[in-house]
Assembly symmetry: D2
Homo-oligomer: 341 residues x 4
């Protein structure tokens, strides 16, 4: 960390900063520039949070040098983390696709979706039982009934289940049914929930918040890992920008950036990012070409009748075609995708 003193900082100001740093266990070295004095501090970065150096007299700004995450970083653990879900591995040599409807609406709907995505080669079934909706007047999910239907679909198809957990109170219930606990974008910084899913001991799919930087996202992962659970899958799902043609702006560059900064597996959800089914197929291809370890794709037996996010859902037939294309792109990346049945 670098502390930049301002133009008129006094000797006393400098000494106060140095004393505070040394008392917190940092090694300090001073550098007098033409315009400014700069204080460098070396030590345990996790202690920095509690210092209010920028509030000290004479301090112009504090410039962090190292990323604030530790357990999540590639420096801390060089080899890729592989998250095991039953007999599959996310972050290994295979690319896994998690597909299914936005929300569980009925047994018939989910069963059809499950069989169709399974046939096409998906290994994990997605579907929300608890749905975070912008409007209180929108369909909010079937709740426990939805979880039961998901479990039936798992039984019938052999697919694993990823589903969203919206708060700590319903976590034990959701954890009874889910194979992967999904933390939604709006909950990426719900720190109580992060600590609780850490304790739940199941793989976690951590979606990026719509206005979260990559660094903040990795700090959210750090909450889970430092809570004792290293089975974290990061999911890029679009960030908020000024562009309104798509629902969000898919930040696909985050994929190679994350592969460089962290050992955690990275998957991409083009459906939510874009909001229009028409563009899901090319962007799913692009995600694999960028190095993603997997995908989340919305598939609905009948998008026009969906209670949630129909406009961004693929038909089973379009999904099948997408999977065929992904197998080809995967080959170039030396990754395999499960065969269609």
């Amino acid at each position: 960390m670098i502390v930049v003193m301002n133009h008129g900082a006094s000797k006393e100001d400098m000494e106060a900063v140095i004393k505070k740093l040394e008392n917190t266990g940092f090694q300090v070295h001073l550098s007098q520039g033409v315009e400014r004095t700069i204080i460098g501090a070396i030590g345990d970065k996790t202690r920095l949070g509690s210092l209010a150096l920028e509030a000290m007299p004479g301090v112009e700004k504090v410039v962090p040098i190292l990323a604030p995450f530790k357990l999540a970083s590639r420096n801390f653990k060089e080899e890729d983390t592989v998250v095991r879900v039953g007999n599959i591995e996310i972050g290994g040599s295979a690319i896994h696709v998690m597909a299914g409807p936005c929300a569980v609406e009925s047994k018939d709907q989910l069963m059809e979706a499950a069989f169709r995505v399974k046939e096409a080669g998906a290994t994990i079934l997605r579907g929300g039982a608890f749905k975070p909706r912008t409007s209180p007047y929108s369909f909010q999910g079937l709740e426990e009934k939805g979880l039961e239907i998901l479990a039936e679909a798992r039984e019938a198809t052999g697919l694993y289940i990823v589903t969203e957990v919206m708060d700590s109170r319903t976590l034990p219930l959701v954890a009874r049914y889910a194979d992967i606990l999904q933390i939604g974008a709006r909950n990426m910084q719900n720190f109580f929930l992060l600590r609780d899913v850490a304790a739940a001991g199941k793989p976690v799919l951590l979606k990026r918040g719509p206005s979260a930087t990559i660094e903040e996202w990795l700090m959210a992962a750090e909450y889970i890992i430092s809570g004792g659970n290293q089975q974290v899958i990061l999911c890029e799902r679009g960030i908020r920008s000024f562009e309104t043609y798509t629902r969000n702006t898919l930040d696909l560059t985050a994929v190679p950036v994350l592969k460089y900064l962290t050992h955690l597996p990275v998957v991409v959800d083009p459906s939510h990012a874009i909001g229009k089914w028409r563009f899901v197929q090319p962007m799913a291809r692009a995600a694999v070409a960028a190095g993603a370890d997997g995908l989340l794709v919305e598939v609905h037996p009948n998008p026009a009748e969906a209670l949630c996010d129909g406009p961004q859902s693929l038909t089973p037939e379009n999904f099948r075609r997408l999977m065929e294309e992904l197998r080809q792109v995967g080959k170039i990346m030396n990754r395999t995708l499960p065969d269609a049945h």
Copy 2:
């Protein structure tokens, strides 16, 4: 709502859309343009959420005409909502300032802060007992002990207490101590929590999410109001933009926009938005000049020793000066601020 059909939409496509709209209770009228056919639909906007019109064949896009919020809108209720907290009124003729430290750190710290802000004219004491922190390694708050100290400060000074509630599980605990329940920016779309604070029956300070549009923010308020609690205070605290010199970009224009769109009172938190104490004073003045009903200001007896957000905290002395200036700006707005003691 307007449904725009695409260039090549067939007669059957159009009829399917019309049928779906009519079945949901909308009145429909058709308009054939040179390039496109457009279908207008009139009816209860709260039912729109469940239609997946954009997923229907031949539909290019759906353009909503009316804002999706209802109970929160000025059309629904024309006169200003005044939120009563003990013997003060937020949204009435007086401007109320909520001041205090970011976090409750100790009894001494909070008591000193409380007495100093009270002397300067604040009527509400702010201070976090549960703190949402980006890093798991940062100080996370004194929790219940912090709430007890807040209650002691209320007892000693007569100030009312606003403090953040971070999740539903700790809500009953926080609600026992707080006069106003604060929903933090990161929780603005924590819908379970919104429903629960609605049921708690206490005034709610609803901070704007850092990437929330004004419309989404009012939809979050709609969750609380439709849950039976109309005592909602909106708090602008900066949005995320590309500018990095300040922590966030204070969207002060949201103040007059909200006064136009909704009947709810609006307050501004310049401290969190800006992140640097130096600029809090001018922006607090600007907030009152823009029409804000109140302010949230961080004040710490010794910012350089703060465990949280020291760089954006005013000293008690600076806060006193700020209050004097605000009284003058308030006068121009025909609003009063409580006197200093």
Copy 3:
């Protein structure tokens, strides 16, 4: 276009709006909703710009229904535009890669870059003679001398030249040397320059402005096309978001969106968008997988000595490897890339 009247709009207000629309040649139809009256207007969208309907009494807002661009739209011209540069076609079945250094620094540097990118399979040489630089103290380009060197490299290698034109005054000079005139991101809405390059009659590479929506970008293309020049190539080069790890946020979804909205060819510049060479390779692959018609890639014989944008430049060796990968991705897309030599 839809005009939404506000709650309390009078009959006179409505009649004034209708009269104004009819006088401008629009067909008008009225629709009385429960809460609002809505006026629909059908007619030539290019005349809308001159109406100030939102300033009329009683008008709440104006909602455009159709995109404002016309000549650039896929509705106006269904088949893909193919831009011919010498004996190559951009937007045809082949994918063309434009490669070279950020700036022309010397004859040696450019010649080496040119021969190396040519060997790897590039068909167009990029290199700036006039450089827009954030700082007045940075290297601003060799100007005419740089253009001469570019022409020598063309002579020696057979590569075509794309280079930036920064203003109308130097346009005749640049047009004498360039095969494709590049409009830089900062000039996307330099409307005088757009009109002048339209008149210059050479292919134009139009970079997206860092804060331009897709719609505004297509309106910039509309300036060129309506000025009589349809040889426009759109170049996605990243938009400005809150994320700071990369220089900009590459909006790759713009590629399939543009292929849907317009007939113009679309290329991607991952180097400028990302700003770090390490991530250029995966994102170039992703761009081709998303459907791009070509790429702009920065290649420098010795990035560490570059006078401009070294950190995002590939070495010739890395570029050769990238081209090999792109050939494979291209195959999946049924597109060819020129062979290496």
Copy 4:
């Protein structure tokens, strides 16, 4: 400047960086941390631009310590710059309001606007003769005829004229008529134009680009100052964010930030930022309360008939009321505004 070496950087990597820095005239000092080696460099920051350190082997990132602007900075020149226009001073004790229509449409329109804003207390008349318009089909301004009308209005009212110059070619023409040359937001980084207005020797009103950081904006000012013209007025006019209710997001915090970072005067244009006249009045008050040295306000004799930006234009009557309010806010700030006549 701080160069952070990466984890596995070799001794040779480090030595190469040090050598390059020393050769460019920097003083270097090394600091070995637990995880990283860090190289500090002290010297003339204006030379940094030409180094490509981040492209050197072993370099993780380069962290600038000082702002890149020099002549524009408060450190370089402590006292406020006052820009003289005829017998008025911008940046002095008086607040000056520049008012008038978006575009000069006719002699009648401009004359009426001029007399009305003069009566209300404006000292400078704004009005575009050359108009940058998103659509090629919109009114593009009266060009030289418009400039002549502006000059007539100056003659008749004694108001000074601020008007936009769109490119270098028309600069001599515009400079013949204008008292202040306005650089529009889209041209903030049109570097040729910046150099040319520097040479023109007239006061320059430099609007902030919609996606420009404060630092980039000051670098644009640095182009003008380093070109020999210190008469630069900065104009905040909104930045692009995800919020769509207003045209742009007025970043009012930029006002006190700029007063801290630079000696140049700062004015605010709420009309363009917001795009809706209804919210101009509160935000103009807020701008003065935040410390602005002046305002740009759109006023049109008949907004509903305006050829450009009618929805954001005040009527003369509303403008008169606004000026009365501003006089009161100004008083609190110890600033005067010219009286109404």
